[in-house]
């Protein structure tokens, strides 16, 4: 019990320290671990609340893979993504809701200067591979000034 209190104390301190850092979600090890094993842990702010709800409801059929979680982890991660979701709607280019970040109008606008040949480079391979150009994507950092497009 004493250890649990010590851990909780550490967590509270860390939460306070990160509370002022703007729209960036506080670090969440469970989210990082569970959502970061097959892909970059895409920051919750890249989709809106309704998209996250839908995505969390279909983890057993997650873009062609089974990504199901036990009930406790699922609800803890859902709470994290909903609390930090984009407050603006992130609709697809067709104006309809989408679960694919790369198909949102916002994403396409942000990447409209990237030619199709660049996307196909073996060093990039797929638009899902954020870390190819956003070297600190694993840590949730997507600052435009730190982008390095690989050859």
């Amino acid at each position: 019990m004493r250890y649990a209190l010590v851990i909780l104390g550490g967590v509270l301190t860390a939460s306070v320290a990160f509370a002022d850092s703007g729209s960036k979600a506080p670090p969440n090890p469970l989210f990082q671990q569970e959502c970061g094993s097959c892909h970059v842990p895409y920051p919750p702010r890249l989709l809106d609340e309704s998209s996250w709800r839908k995505l969390m409801d279909g983890l057993d059929k997650h873009f062609g893979s089974d990504a199901s979680l036990d009930a406790i982890s699922r609800s803890a991660i859902e709470a994290h993504v909903l609390a930090n979701a984009s407050r603006r709607e992130r609709l697809g280019v067709d104006g309809k809701p989408t679960l694919r970040i790369t198909q949102t109008a916002w994403y396409q606008r942000k990447h409209d200067e990237i030619g199709s040949a660049v996307w196909r480079r073996p060093s990039i391979k797929t638009a899902a591979n954020c870390a190819a150009c956003h070297r600190e994507a694993e840590q949730g950092i997507f600052n435009e000034h730190q982008v390095r497009i690989p050859k």
Binding site: S37, L69, T126
Partner: protein, 138 residues
């Protein structure tokens, strides 16, 4: 200045994670024997086979992917997720001592990946064979 906001859910998530990390770690042999015992309920003469496990690991099972699609046919090497390209640490215990030491993690990934590869959950016998293969392959 904005008031610091505490997230109770965030705290809960971390505490759970720490609890999971403190949960008793096991050895690949212990995990293997649990699957072996479970398999013996149906087939009392069952004995795990690394050779059978290797074939199971490398072959497709009527669908697009085999285990090797992401983990490579030689599991001492690092693998790569078949759709996202993300690196996957080697599955072989010889190359990665963390493998098969956390029963919950082993079950989670067998459940997910068997559904992707076979379209169903794996039997205890299949899991025992795969663990036998991955804990002995060099």
């Amino acid at each position: 200045m904005s008031k610091p906001r505490l997230s109770l859910r965030h705290c809960l998530a971390l505490v759970l994670l720490c609890a999971a990390a403190l949960a008793q770690a096991e050895t690949p042999q212990q995990i293997l024997s649990v699957y072996e015992s479970a398999a013996r309920v149906q087939a009392p003469a069952f004995s795990a086979s690394a050779v059978r496990g290797g074939d199971f690991f490398r072959n497709k099972h009527g669908r697009e992917w085999s285990c090797a699609s992401c983990h490579t046919g030689n599991p001492v090497d690092a693998g790569k997720h078949a759709s996202t390209g993300k690196a996957i640490q080697p599955m072989a215990v010889a190359a990665n001592a963390e493998r098969f030491t956390q029963p919950n993690k082993v079950e989670k990934w067998f459940t997910r990946n068997c559904k992707d590869v076979l379209g169903r959950e794996c039997s205890a016998a299949e899991k025992a064979d795969v663990v036998a293969f991955l804990s002995t392959v060099k």
